[in-house]
């Protein structure tokens, strides 16, 4: 357990190992979420269920130049990553803030970055499992043939897309109440997913929605999914760099909002 024995004089100078704190914080944040069916089942089950229904059962058609079973991996992958990240950060943060648990943590010597890092790590893990499950299902049952290198890039891109949604989760978590958080998350999550073409191919969406998605960095799920569509040969509109820039810009704005919320909390508490 403890790396230094308490009988050693040096022990009083020892600071607890920050890496070890981060590891434990992340481990228990992950276990906490894993054991909550509301989180683990809903974030994992829905994208996979949708993929089985629309990607595999009804997967004979093609969308644009690729088959539905390929098309829906980036789409539901983005959907899954977004859900895991938003619920993993916003819902837990809003609960911890509103019901005093964050205060107990803040009164302890825990470095606050460990708390946030744990949420990001947990979101990334659930996102990875989500994406790998979709890919495995597609390859095993959907006749999906993607070169290994492309598959690796696809997984990495989708999983890194967890970060902008974590920042968005922080922004929501700092303003939503403990009980209203899931509803607030869904108010953003579901319409954003729809407008980004995750449920219905993007070209079937109304023209003004398409314009918003393409030209304004307001719909991160659109930009993330387009990055992956490019990798599987189905990209539409906008250079790749613009999608990355949009995700980065969106994240920075969300971090700003979260910071304002953090300051507001500090003020309210004193």
């Amino acid at each position: 357990m403890a790396s230094v024995s308490t009988t050693m004089p040096a022990a009083t100078f020892a600071r607890p190992n920050p890496l070890r704190i981060c590891f434990k914080e992340a481990k228990y944040e992950f276990l906490k979420c894993l054991r909550l069916p509301m989180y683990s089942v809903s974030t994992m089950l829905f994208p996979i269920m949708f993929y089985v229904l629309f990607g595999l059962v009804m997967g004979r058609q093609t969308i644009g130049s690729i088959s539905t079973s390929v098309y829906l991996i980036p789409a539901y992958g983005t959907f899954g990553v977004m859900g895991a990240s938003l619920f993993g950060t916003a819902a837990t943060l809003a609960g911890d803030r509103g019901l005093g648990w964050l205060q107990v943590k803040r009164a302890s010597p825990m470095p606050i970055y460990a708390y946030f890092l744990a949420k990001v790590v947990t979101s990334v893990i659930f996102s990875t499992v989500d994406v790998l499950a979709l890919l495995t299902l597609g390859v095993a049952f959907g006749g999906v043939h993607i070169p290994t290198l492309v598959a690796a890039k696809l997984v990495l891109t989708l999983v890194s897309g967890s970060l902008p949604f974590c920042t968005m989760g922080l922004a929501i978590g700092y303003f939503a109440g403990p009980t209203s958080a899931p509803a607030v998350i869904n108010i953003f999550y579901l319409p954003m997913s729809f407008c980004s073409g995750l449920w219905m191919p993007f070209m079937f969406l109304p023209k003004f929605v398409q314009k918003i998605a393409v030209f304004l960095p307001l719909l991160p799920p659109y930009h993330l999914s387009q990055l992956v569509f490019h990798q599987v040969g189905a990209g539409q509109g906008g250079p790749i760099l613009w999608h990355w820039e949009s995700l980065l810009g969106f994240s920075l704005v969300c971090l700003g909002i979260a910071w304002v919320g953090h300051q507001r909390d500090q003020k309210a508490n004193g």
């Binding site: 009988t7 004089p9 009083t12 607890p16 434990k24 019901l99 005093g100 107990v104």
Partner: protein, 328 residues
């Protein structure tokens, strides 16, 4: 402030050489400090918008003692604790813990806190919560020892959400002590507990004091302050209105109460020498006096039928009610 922390570290290192017990680490440090004050609020005011939670608040915590902050709900007890934990900053005035800023990480490694909390992650087991909080501290107690002190050995693998109210409080208590802190803040630790659980927690708190820890406890149970505290600070409407040992606080009201069933009218009783106050209480009367013996002699000679005589000390409760009434 940092210098002070460093001095403390050096002092504690010297003591570490002498023995490997935690007590050896704690006691000499406290003695080395002038007046043995480990935490202090000096002339602090705290406003939340237009609400004045604390008004020119002065409070000292002495090493090795249990200080109780006693007051009704909304008196400012929790606000005072938040200032001492560095969770809130005073609007004016000064707060120091171990001579340093309470919000500094080095200060916090020597402090443990049990706060009132609405929800704790319920899917983690008792031992997992303790394992996590232990990792925040440089010299935590072994987890098995924390579990033993908090009486949680049998419940270590139980999920927090499956515990009873009293068991949950014990986990929160375990999180406060697991880092082996020198100074412990317990904010209403026994609220919602049944009598047995409350007495168990009291015993655990006494054990901590026995190991040289300093404890600050807030409560609105007068009995609790009476049973545990070396010093009581009575707080009402954001100010301390009385301070002293439980006995000193109690002596602020008339000494004894005599309760008896008698035919005598209140006016006749008032004429007996030594009677301070007479009040009807259902079928009986309650007489306050500093000289109960002479009052009893008078009563017995005037009423041969007198019955149901009880003589009790005025409790902390009476003192408290009297003190808060004075305030109004």
């Amino acid at each position: 402030m940092r210098l002070q922390a460093l001095v403390d570290d050096v002092l504690s290192v010297e003591e570490f050489g002498d023995g490997d017990m935690a007590i050896a680490q704690v006691v000499p440090i406290q003695r080395s400090r002038a007046h043995g004050t480990v935490a202090e609020i000096q002339g602090a005011s705290k406003n939340f918008g237009s609400v004045r939670a604390l008004v020119d608040f002065n409070f000292q915590v002495r090493a090795g003692e249990l200080t109780a902050l006693l007051g009704p709900n909304g008196a400012g007890k929790t606000t005072a604790i938040k200032l001492l934990l560095g969770l809130a900053c005073p609007t004016s005035g000064r707060v120091s813990v171990f001579g340093a800023d309470p919000a500094e990480a080095t200060t916090r490694t020597r402090v443990g806190a049990m706060l009132q909390v609405g929800r704790v992650p319920e899917s983690l087991r008792a031992a997992e919560h303790i394992d996590l909080f232990s990792s925040y501290y440089p010299n935590p107690l072994p987890i098995s020892e924390t579990l033993a002190i908090a009486g949680l050995e049998e419940l270590r693998d139980r999920k927090f959400g499956d515990l009873s109210g009293g068991q949950k409080q014990r986990v929160l208590f375990a999180l406060a002590i697991c880092g082996n802190p020198d100074l412990l803040f317990l904010d209403e630790p026994t609220v919602g507990l049944d009598v047995e659980a409350r007495h168990l927690l009291w015993q655990e708190i006494r054990n901590l004091l026995g190991r040289g820890k300093t404890v600050v406890l807030t409560t609105h149970y007068l009995e609790e302050a009476d049973a545990l505290a070396d010093r009581v600070a009575v707080i009402n409407k954001g100010s301390i209105i009385a301070e002293g040992t439980p006995a000193q606080i109690k002596s602020r009201t008339a000494g004894k109460k005599i309760r008896c069933v008698t035919q005598l009218s209140a006016a006749v009783i008032r004429d007996i020498k030594g009677v301070i106050d007479v009040q009807a209480d259902r079928e009986a009367v309650v007489i306050q006096s500093n000289h109960p013996e002479s009052v009893l002699r008078g009563l017995l000679s005037l009423d041969l039928e007198i019955s149901g005589i009880e003589v009790t000390s005025a409790g902390l409760e009476d003192a408290f009610l009297a003190l808060t009434r004075e305030e109004k």
